[in-house]
């Protein structure tokens, strides 16, 4: 397909989105990620039954925490697609990138830069 999607996205592969623990999402932000999105299989079509449903709940937990501490829950999102939907993959990548551009950089980066200076 040779589809284009924003080059600023780093892909972290996991065997199933059910592997994604809440702490993985939080650590990404702690280390300076501006946004994180989880791409899981279509709901109801998880090979392991409930992996993507668990991931959705963990994304919701992360959103709540990020809202509470002033980082912004919108920076973490869950999307679902099947492995054959290349165009959707590129669409979600662009959508998330635009959303994060609107929100601006992760606010804790300012602190890290200040410490480094």
């Amino acid at each position: 397909m040779r589809l284009q999607y924003p080059s600023n996205i780093k892909i972290v592969s996991v065997p199933c989105t059910g592997k994604i623990d809440l702490i993985y999402l939080l650590k990404s932000f702690e280390k300076g990620a501006d946004g994180v999105y989880v791409l899981g299989c279509i709901e109801g079509e998880c090979r392991f039954g409930t992996g993507n449903l668990r991931a959705r709940k963990r994304v919701m937990q992360a959103q709540k925490i990020l809202d509470s501490i002033g980082i912004g829950g919108d920076r973490v999102q869950m999307y679902n697609l099947s492995s054959s939907e290349g165009p959707r993959f590129a669409e979600f990548a662009a959508e998330m990138t635009n959303k994060i551009r609107e929100l601006g950089p992760n606010p804790i980066k300012r602190f890290r830069e200040k410490l480094a200076a």
Partner: protein, 222 residues
């Protein structure tokens, strides 16, 4: 086990926002099983607090440790050498652990990171319910293994009240009437004649009403 719930992050922040060196201490027992204060919850709280303080522009050190138990001195001793480095401790153990930690290290402010709820069971992941109130005088032998003290809203000892409807308690349609459960169980065990026996007045002095309690066993005491 003892069931606890995580305190809202805002409440924890309010307690420790003026400190600069924070140690979060988890417990590997009950609160790990009920997903409120184990190693994972310690990591989540630590990460959340680190980000909160960084966002506020404050350089705050937040470290993590999870002890086997916080209700035994031997495990609390494991942090004796490192606790000196901190201004404050957040304990994610139940109220018992928080108190024992505070008692052991009385020079340090200790704050609770969870709300301790009750002694109960895991019905399914994410659902816990009460089973025991520690009344100090167990009557489960005569009630078919179902406790009317913890599971009946009125703690009745001789059958259901008038509020029992279709097996449910009057305080909630989702709550089983404990006495209905007891009668059904005794019927199943073919022991319904025991239901007819009047339970004597319970000695509540062994319950919380008798003041803080203590068990001393001279046969094992050192």
């Amino acid at each position: 086990m003892i069931i606890a719930e995580k305190k809202p992050i805002e409440e924890v922040i309010e307690m420790v926002k003026d400190f600069r060196k924070i140690l979060i201490v988890g417990c590997n027992e009950c609160v790990t099983v009920c997903e409120a204060g184990g190693k994972r919850e310690v990591a989540v709280l630590a990460s959340s607090l680190r980000m909160y303080f960084m966002n506020q522009g404050k350089d705050t050190q937040i470290d993590e440790v999870t002890l086997e138990r916080q209700c035994d001195r031997e495990y609390l001793e494991e942090i004796r050498n490192r606790i000196e480095q901190y201004d404050v401790v957040i304990s994610l153990a139940c109220g018992v652990g928080v108190q024992f930690l505070a008692e052991t290290y009385s020079r340090f402010p200790v704050y609770p990171g969870v709300n301790t709820c009750f002694m109960g069971v895991t019905e399914e992941r994410g659902v816990w319910s009460e089973r025991c109130q520690g009344c100090g005088q167990c009557i489960l032998g005569s009630t078919g293994g179902i406790c009317p003290i913890s599971r009946c809203a009125k703690r009745l000892l001789n059958g259901p009240c008038g509020g029992s409807t279709k097996g449910k308690c009057e305080i909630s349609k989702d709550l089983d009437c404990a006495w209905q459960l007891i009668i059904d169980r005794l019927k199943e065990l073919d022991r319904l004649d025991e239901y007819e026996q009047i339970a004597p007045i319970k000695d509540w002095s062994t319950e919380r009403a008798g003041g803080p309690r203590r068990v001393v066993r001279e046969d094992v005491r050192q």
